[in-house]
Amino acid sequence: MEDHRRHQQEDISKAPNPRNPVLQLLWFFAIAACIKLLLIPSYRSTDFEVHRHWLALTHSLPLSQWYFDETSQWTLDYPPFFAYFERFLSYFANIVDPRIVHLQKGLDYNSNTVVYFQRITVILSDLCLLYGVYRLTRNLDPIKRKLIWVLVVWSPALVIVDHLHFQYNGFLLGMLLISLSYLEEGRDLIGGFVFAVLLCFKHLFAVAAPVYFVYLLRHYCRGGFVRGFGRLTVMGSVVVAVFAAAYGPFIYHGQIQQVIQRMFPFGRGLCHAYWAPNFWVFYILLDKGLSILLRKLGFSIKIPTGSFTSGLVGDSSPFSVLPQITPLTTFVVVLLALSPCLIKAFKDPQPRMITRWVAYAYACGFLFGWHVHEKASLHFVIPLALVAVQSLEDARHYLLLSIVSCYSLFPLLFEAQEYPIKVLLLLSHSSLMWLGFSAQFDKGESIKQAGSKTKQQHVQTKGSVTATGEPFRIRFIEKVYLVGLLVVEIWAQFLHPFILGGKFPFVPLMLISMYCSLGVMYSWIWQLRWILTPTN
């Protein structure tokens, strides 16, 4: 009897999903890959040459010179694993076209072979992202799963940064997602291991390290002092082993200081050339406003000599009224912003919350960090996609955040040719997102039925709260904000050059980053509130 029932259950669980989810996911990937292939001839930033140079560097030089080479201005400033990754790719590059990996002849090489080779490596390395998403969504019900795939695999922000601008974020975020998926399953050791590997690929991901540390300490190393300490030792030795594998050769050559110097160029300023939409934008603007106001009132205010973007030169502060911001200040502020989340993780380390906590950590790093790139918003937007389908509130928040973060990337592609591409990417993805969310939440009744069915079938459904009955609508204030986004874009792109001509060329960009930072701040507060809500 028991056996029979089990058989029946298996039958049911097979029934609603005749098609293989892996194949379906590959379908999503293939569609995206086709679009990315079509986009190959588009604009690429200097990052393209940076990565090309790294291919040449790692191929032509012995390991001991990687972090010393100055053939090009684009010196290697990523951690060793990324350099190994480039070394791995350079092996194939050499087969495709030896000039790609030539240290001198390859400089600013831009033939078809190198463009195709590098672009295709990015497209293929996205398979890592795909695996991460697959691991995180394989136990969800098919509808939510597809929605998440749309959010992550078809993310317009990733297309803009990786496939137009050129970087390998999809690959790195994939590793983050893999790590999160192991943590969610309770397999902390592998999760921690993957995260350590990720840190050795790109150290910017270290912003979430405190969260990882606290969480692993409390979740993995629990169960009495002896067992806990034992586990701490295991985890510690795994992490140390990973770091040893990455940095060991450089320690052996006695170059560790040089490596660290390259990786943390604190000579750069508080803000990137284009101000990322974060908290410091307001700080700078407040300073400017105050200095103008005080000057009007008769105080003598020195005009600052330093600039926000070009780093700390001597003692000159770029601020005229407000106190100077140093890397240490930003570090403390980030930690302060993180502390509620850390306390929460310390008190009650729950696997189902880890994705939110990590995303929150990256949001803090983005808002308050030193020399933040606008691209870093991907670090929390992509992980948040995985929790966006859990409730109506999540969906609402994610819709807004995703649009804002993608829009804030627009200045990366400043040439006319890519203008329609970025707009259409954003618009088509937003419409898909809106359709998907409203399909998920609108017909509360019917979905409740379907949901209860699927709950029987899948024993392991994560985040099962769906049907609230309330339709998916964007709130009034959010609507106003989105319309404002449109106004900002029209002003920055069309009206400003038309009315003011060449005057104040920095205003459109400033306006965009200011407006977007409002949205990011909203998202940060929303996430903080969510974390602090006791019921969660």
Partner: protein
């Protein structure tokens, strides 16, 4: 025992059918939620159309990043230069001089050889170019003008024509054709919209190679939509516009003519109805041709520009009858142009005739689409001076029929793409071609429609598998292998042969289909028309 199980089976079968029909009626059919696009469709056709068209636009913009025909290839460049040159002529000379050879208008250098509506369109686009980049359309000095911004502006003119004409036309067609047809599921309609808007051949030719087929094809789609909605006057007006944008639209003329005639004959006053339609067509023609009606000479000059018989029976390696059989019979050498004109004319007309007769006898919306397919096939295969790009014309009705004839459409699309491949290679669009080829077939296969292979195609699946395999091999061979010196066009000829064999089969198949399908539902439509 056996009978019992057979009975049970049939019972089950009928139950299944009943369930299926129920699902079809159910508007939000939940059973289908596993479909890849189920959530695309829950808000209704308009939203679905909007989001699909955004994606289709993205694909177009992405393709437009690639090179155009004749990029950086003096002295004659390619179609891109031709279109730009027409804009230059149109905005710098008065309308009456556009088709005449003069010191300011050298007809040997990409002389205008499309009807006046193309010239007007060039005028409008020329003004747009002049506004932003006046250098690109200045008389004489702009010849061979190529620049980053100039290319963008030109690309945007095609994009805007697509958005303003082709997309709305498709939207109205969807509304017209599926409004009364409840037998289609909503997800199928989404599929239909997607394949109509993401037509790889059209996108490659318009946004890669550079042409404005979206305008004439869009107008044709609009005309078909009008006729499907029983607005025959609007339909014939739009089709006249299409005809005046590209004379190639005449490929559809027999179908329009016969369908409208058949409809008129079923009305109370056939003669009045025919007169009304004739008046609309003539009126439209008059307005468009107004600058050339002042003398017979002017009219004849324009007409002679439109029918370039001196260019010969066929060009390059187009997969039609004349070009393919020329492997055996050297038509061009054996016969005079006059005789060839007559031959091709009779061949085209006689192959059109069956489908025309069918539509005159029993006009129906579906039959009309089949008629369009048959007549455009006849023209493509047998008429005088066919380009490889003309495959877009039969492909259009085949796409519109895709829900009824998924296997015909899919099969046709494979070979339409293959027949364009040599052109694509010449234009250096191979990468875009491969990507969009893959993209389209991923989209087609997303729906169950794309996977079902039924009817006549089932029995010959192996054969089709083989020819598809040949097509794949030919792609690779054409790219990789150098042809032998004695036969430099060997692979073009092979591609042509393969495509022709498939096209002729599809043409026969669609003719047969037109007669058999429409037999089933003639009565209903008769009643409706009265």
């Amino acid at each position: 025992m056996l009978a019992d199980s057979a009975c049970r089976f049939s019972n089950k079968f009928s139950m299944g059918k009943l369930k299926e029909s129920k699902v079809m009626k159910n508007k939000v059919d939940l059973n289908n939620r596993d479909d890849a696009c189920w959530w695309l469709i829950h808000k209704g056709v308009k939203t679905t159309f909007l989001s699909i068209s955004l994606f289709a636009l993205l694909v177009r913009v992405a393709v437009s990043l690639h090179p155009y025909s004749g990029a950086g290839n003096p002295p004659k460049y390619g179609d891109y230069e031709a279109q730009r040159h027409w804009m230059e002529i149109a905005i710098n000379l008065p309308a009456k001089d556009w088709y005449w050879n003069s010191t300011t208008n050298d007809l040997n250098y990409w002389g205008l050889d499309y009807p006046p509506l193309t010239a007007y369109q060039s005028f409008v686009h020329g003004l747009f170019l002049k506004l932003f980049d006046s250098q690109s359309v200045s008389l004489f000095t702009s010849r061979g003008y190529e620049s980053y911004f100039g290319k963008l502006l030109m690309r945007w003119t095609v994009l805007s024509s697509d958005v303003l004409i082709f997309f709305p036309a498709v939207f109205y067609f969807i509304l017209a054709y599926f409004s009364d047809n409840s037998s289609f599921r909503k997800s199928d309609i989404a599929w239909q919209i997607a394949i109509l808007l993401i037509n790889p051949c059209l996108i490659l030719i318009d946004h890669g190679h550079f042409q404005y087929n979206c305008i004439s094809l869009g107008l044709t789609v609009g005309a078909i939509a009008g006729i499907c909605m029983d607005k025959d006057l609007v339909g014939s007006f739009l089709f006249t516009l299409a005809l005046n944008h590209k004379q190639m639209s005449a490929y559809f003329a027999p179908a329009f003519f016969s369908h409208l005639l058949g409809k008129c004959m079923r009305r109370r006053n056939p003669i009045v109805e025919v007169l009304k339609l004739g008046l609309v067509v003539l009126g439209t023609f008059t307005i468009i041709w107004l600058p050339y009606l002042h003398s017979v000479d002017a009219l004849l000059q324009v007409l002679s520009r439109l029918a370039p018989f001196e260019r010969g029976l066929y060009e390059d390696y187009v997969a039609n009858f004349w070009c393919t059989t020329s492997v055996l019979i050297k038509w061009k050498r054996l016969f005079s142009v006059k005789l060839l004109k007559f031959l091709s004319f009779t061949a085209t007309l006689s192959t059109c005739l069956p489908s025309m007769i069918q539509q005159i006898r029993v006009p129906s919306n579906r039959g009309f689409l089949y008629g369009l397919l048959c007549s455009s096939f006849s023209f493509y295969l047998f008429s005088f001076q066919v380009h490889e790009k003309s495959v877009l014309l039969p492909l259009l009705p085949a796409t519109m029929l895709a829900l009824d004839e998924p296997s015909l459409f899919i099969h046709f699309l494979h070979y339409a793409l293959l027949s364009l491949f040599p052109l694509v290679v010449r234009d250096k669009l191979v990468q875009a071609y491969l990507a969009i080829y893959a993209l389209t077939f991923l989209i087609i296969n997303a729906s169950n429609k794309g996977k079902q292979k039924g009817g006549a195609f089932h029995s010959t699946r192996v054969l089709f598998g083989c020819s598809l395999f040949c097509s794949l091999i030919l792609h690779v061979v054409y790219l990789v292998v150098r042809p032998p010196e004695r036969y430099p066009f060997l692979f073009e000829a092979l591609i042509m042969l393969l495509c022709f064999s498939q096209f002729i089969f599809l043409a026969v198949f669609s003719n047969i289909k037109q007669w058999t399908v429409s037999k089933a539902v003639p009565l209903m439509h008769k009643q409706k028309l009265n």
